[in-house]
Amino acid sequence: MGLLTPLYIAGLAALSLPLVFHLIRRTPRGRESFGSLMFLAPSPPRITRRSRLDNVVLFLLRAAALTLVAVAFARPFFRDTSALDVETATGRRILLVIDDSASMRRHGIWPAALDEAENVLHQLRPNDRLAVFACAGSMRCVWAFDEQRQLPATSTAAAALRRLRTIRPGWSTSDIGGALVQASDMLDAFTDERPTTDDADRQIVLISDLQEGASLDALQSYQWPGRVRLHVHRVGPTKTTNAAPQLLVDPDQSEPGRASPRVRVVNASDSAAEQFQLRWAHGDLPIDAEPIDACVPPGESVVLSVPRPAAAAVDRLILTGDDHSFDNTYYVAADEKEPLRVTYLGADAADDRSGPRYFLELAVASHPDRATHLHAPAADQRLSFPNEQRPHLVVVTDAPPTDRVGELRQYLRNGGTVLYVLGRGATAEPVSQLMQCQGLEIEEAAVEGYVLWSEIRFAHPLFEVFSHPHFNDFTGIHFWHYRSVSIPPTDDSPPPNDDPQGVQVLARFDNGDPALLHQSVDAGNLYMLASGWHPADSQLARSSKFVPLVLNLVDLHVPRPMKNQYRVDEPVTLQASNSHAARTLVKPDGTRINVPADQPVFRDADQPGLYRLTDADADTWFAVNVSAAESRTAPLAAEDLEQYGVRLGSPVTAEAEAERQRRLVETELENRQKLWRPLIALAVAILLGETWLAGRLSRKQRETPNAGSN
């Protein structure tokens, strides 16, 4: 016999109340004021008749009812009437999440994490359900809930542990927040055929170093399920000093391959040391140069210049002086800018601030990813465009002679881009030859005051960057002079014909004349401006629209150079290949991957180092480094998770767990037996009998008023 809530037995103390009330000496409650007590003597207290128990049977009945109610509330049960087993009564749903991010590569952490996982798995009971996930970068299933069904109940832990020992920490970034969100969603939605007795038995066990850089942002907008609890098993290294270098991109860097790039050194806040050394290296070969000392206090970062050795090529920066080397190497790919070749055909000089060349040169020189080379051949110089020297853009501001028009036409057919500016006194003949248009007329337009651009085709890729309402206001640009271009439609083009003879009007003046035209010539593109951008013709060069317009024209038709610095797991944008042959990508560990020519993005940059993309033309190198967040290895307080609403479970001792199991069994037994029901029924019956007896005695007392009452 046992009691589920033995505290209610204390209610039996109420049995003493009738006795106490009966036996208490009744004292008079009245009080009389009197003039003087000089004639009065105190009377001795008198024991009244009510101090005696008159009806023992009634008292016993009431006491029995009270006893039954108290015992029923204590919820009794018989221990030996049911063979309920702990193992069959309950079952937990455990989702084990192990962090295999780069910071777990620190010395001694991963074995400790596996030991923690082993401890958790050894505590599995046959009725528990288990899943194991690795969470670096993205959630990867190591052991699924369903796999347990195919194995004997006792061998689940061993099998899951074997599977767990096959994984190793990678180089990815921790996203603990995202992993916890996915895990809790999975656990909250998980259902199986057995009902659980306790919702709190859905638990996530997180084994991680829980370092500062682990992102928790995903938890910010997440409502943590009430029935899922998180148990954090933190693992940490014995030595905590960790620092990492990062090469900074200098936006003002005018010289590619600068001799003294700036390097930021970040020291973790729990580091014990603050003196580190930086040195350049090339491959595994050390460079014979003095290392640079960096003094970085714990929790701070310092930016310093680290000069490159002048005589040797380098491809990585190595930091020494801390306890953990996983983030000590920063790989650097060659950072030379791709050239941008522009040929200018015009008569004005480079330093003529009133001519168009001056503004064009300033605009193309501001390209962030390219080194611009502007070439202005002499008027009588013959143009030659060999493949490797072919200009990316040809700008014509003066009417070219006839033989040069033929060369431009050929350049266009080979995929070139020509921007033809109709200057003052422009004639229709060279333009007609270049565009192969019939009946094209060009004449100087008579402008009263100024004209503006209107009817701009913002859907065209050239103007797409201006399509947002914040940027599409061209009304501030005045044009004082322009050349009126008229292209008659051909007879076979269907009306309405906005693009006569294959020429698109991308913008018109507000009087309806074309302002900017575009014609596709085989693989090339010809743009024609009806007015110059220099101050003699318009305000275009001095407006905020000119530079983006020119750079967009370049980027539209010139292959974008490939970025050469990436983080681990970051998608690598591949440069389009000129040939259709497959390319080969060599990873730092020597793995070769065939990349199709049309594949735009490479998503398997899963290790730091230098990657080589071998094309038919040349090799392209790019560097992949460990995320800076992984270098912030100071431990995060587990309580920080609670700030995001995560329900943390307290560590459970073996005794507490055994006690909890015992309570569960007792609750189950009591639920099955429900002895409180007959006890309450018996109490009600006794009270009914007591009521009947009391009524009968009361009637008898009324009938014999002189007799003693109960």
Partner: protein
């Protein structure tokens, strides 16, 4: 007692019975002739009866009864025990009304009335006077709230005896619920000073008959002491002690020729006063005669 204003209450009571029922203990010069006395050297020649001298050629002094020179002091107990009342009014209200009625009555006869109120000590003292506004002051003093933690009969009487040097009437109005060990001595001291003393004992009917029937804690109104009393057990002893106490008072008064009257608060005041004045009138002349023989002013 339903009239709240004490002065009006006294007036109503006074008008309920006749006035002028007492005589002055002194000889004076008023309209009522008393006697002739032969002139001796030293008498004031203003009082010679010149008409008689003209007729008989002898000098006689003519004496009259003095009706306006009664000096009465009302000594009123206003201790907390007087606040007890089993009826609608307390003993204190009854005593105040009695004192006010006497004062009003005497004032109407142009007598001088003084007042002494006390609880455990003398709280107010107004000398006996007859002047406009004096009656009002006297009644205001009577309306003072009850106080004190006990009743001390010794100190007020001693103080009256010391203060009031001229003979007169001393009326003690109290419940006399206090030890009377020194009462006899102090009353005798008053009498020895030539004062006529009247004791009016005001009692509640419940105090006389102890008509309680339920056991309760009885609280002393003066000391606040609580005593559990079952009336069924205590009544007999109470009545016995009460009677014994009253007998001692009566014996003391009788020995000192002091008029003792017991007023029960359930009896109308005018009736009680009428009884008192009637009895006093019956004995008054004899007393006056005896007092008048002791000499004039």
């Amino acid at each position: 007692m339903r009239i709240k204003n004490l002065q009006w209450r006294a007036r109503v009571v006074v008008e309920g019975f006749c006035s002028g029922l007492h005589r002055s203990p002194y000889h004076g010069f008023s309209v009522e002739f008393s006697e002739y006395r032969a002139y001796v050297a030293g008498d004031d020649p203003r009082f010679l009866d010149w008409r008689l001298y003209a007729r008989t050629d002898r000098c006689y002094i003519k004496r009259f009864e003095d009706e306006t020179n009664l000096r009465c002091h009302l000594v009123v107990d206003l201790s907390r025990s007087m606040g007890y009342g089993s009826l609608a009014h307390s003993k204190a209200e009854y005593a105040r009304t009695t004192a006010a009625t006497l004062a009003y009555y005497l004032a109407r006869q142009r007598d001088c009335v003084g007042l002494v109120t006390f609880d455990e000590q003398v709280t107010d003292y107004l000398p006996a006077r007859f002047r406009p506004g004096h009656l009002h002051r006297l009644i205001m003093a009577l309306e003072r709230a009850l106080g004190g933690k006990k009743t001390d009969l010794t100190t007020p009487i001693e103080q009256v005896a010391r203060t009031v040097t001229k003979r007169g009437l001393i009326v003690l109005i109290s419940d006399l619920l206090a030890p009377i060990d020194t009462l006899r001595r102090n009353l005798g001291y008053l009498r020895s000073r030539g004062h006529e003393v009247v004791v009016m004992r005001v009692l509640d009917p419940a105090e006389v008959a102890f008509s309680f029937d339920r056991a309760a804690y009885f609280e002393d109104m003066e000391s606040g002491r609580l005593v559990y009393v079952d009336p069924r057990d205590a009544r007999e002893q109470y009545l016995s002690r009460f009677a014994e106490h009253e007998q001692e008072i009566q014996a003391a008064c009788s020995a000192l020729a002091i008029d003792y009257f017991r007023f029960s608060t359930d009896r109308p005041l005018e009736m009680a006063l009428l009884d008192y004045l009637s009895a006093r009138t019956r004995r008054g002349r004899r007393t006056v005669r005896r007092g008048g023989a002791q000499g004039g002013r």
